[in-house]
Amino acid sequence: MTMDFDFNSLLAFIIFGITIGVVYGIVALGISLIYSGLDIVHFAHGEIYMFGAFIGLFLSQELGVPYPFAIIGAMIFAALLGMGIERVFYRRLTQAGGGYTVAGMGMIICGFGMSVALMNVAFLIWGAGAEPFPVNLGMPLQLGDISIPQSYVLTAVVSMLLMVVLNYFIRRTKLGLAVRAVAHNKDIAYLMGINVPLVISLIFGLGCALAAAAGVLIGPMQSVQVEMGYLMLMKAFAAAVVGGFGSLPGALIGGILVGIFENLGAAYISPSHKDIYAFLLLILVLIFRPSGLFGVIAKVKA
């Protein structure tokens, strides 16, 4: 990390920024999806991400499941966990009227409570220490003078794949159409014969699965620990706001921007304040474009 200007290292920082950024992007995507479906910001999302990482670690280290399947396994587990939480806790509150009502406030508090509860459950199971997540993926990829670890390549590829699949699901399938209908207006969705609570549950599960995938992808780059969720939630939230809350492409672009901004800040300003830069970007966007870069007109969600 030399301070004299070197084009290759700038490029490397940007590439690493994009890679970590797409991970922020898929977590933000989940937050955005849940926001459009339930009209709430899900504050326990970081903990779902953390659970996903631990499940992925467990599957690949303890059971010897190949890494790609560990991702899928963690996603399925998180989806079921999320749907369970939605069914048992959130549904009572959404039925009392969602989003902007007093019940909406209840949902935010419920989200925070869930966050604390999940963190403590994880603490009881896995302890407080940071667990390494070694995955042997082979030699780093050489791109000119820049060498990129395989885990970064895999992360970028898997994230993009998830985006494409999600986009296809939302845009092209009948169930995706129902998801968009529910996100926009629940009463009319009911009148179309859509089982709205079921679709909300599905949206919730989908958002949680995305968070878990992010957790398993980040694992090999950093390490896995109980408190990892909080910072991810904050950054994904920043990504979602930067991109425009409720906009799905916005969440991805926002994530990439946050990732690049953070990496460049750490490289050229100060690495010890790495985590500030995401919020600096958030503040700048909120000052100059409060609706976010892809800010959608209110009511035209997802």
Partner: protein
Amino acid sequence: MLKIKEVHAGYGRLKILRGINLNVSQGTIVALLGGNGTGKSTLLKTISGLLPVMEGSIEFDKKVITDSKPHHIVRSGLVQVTQSKEAYPAMTVEENLMLGAFTRSDKAEIKYDLEGIYSFFPALKDRRNMLSGTLSGGEVQMLVTGRGLMAKPKMLMLDEPSAALAPKVVLEIFANIYKISQTGVTILVVEQNVRMALLLSQYAYIIRDGRIMIEGKSEELINDPAIKEFFLGGTVTDTSKELNA
């Protein structure tokens, strides 16, 4: 086909409907008339299952649907077309129509019906790939009506299809409703345009303060001086000559 007995309903603790009795026989067009805030939309929402029935019972197609969930009611063939002209503005015209067929899985027939809707409303065909947010008021009304028909309903409930539309468009919309009823679909139409609705329907109910005040055959009500008085200063517009034309 639809039997509503002594229904009380409303929002939370606020009771809007205070004992509604209403019947719609198969194959007919029945009009429900009344001014703003009289409970018309509340009644439709209650029938559709969006609002809970506090007292009384609702029966559709010989089955009790008093406590049924809205998506089950749609599946039983009772479909509501909403008032607020709410198409999904961020979806294309075709996506909106396909959403109407959500409860069906007979792909080939859905496609056939979609073409049917397009020949019934040619304006929609030209705009099939446009976002429905870009449509005019009349076109949106065609879209939500077409979307309702895509569910293959036994009975269609239309909530103020003429609201906020130009008189010429209103005439077209009512002509379409008549054509739909000719295909065997039973219709309950909620309206503020009293004269047009009475000309269209065979039987009519007039609602006020959550109660049915007057009911009778539409052809008798249309010349009833009490009706004229009831809606005096209201929304009665003389369009009978246009309809006969």
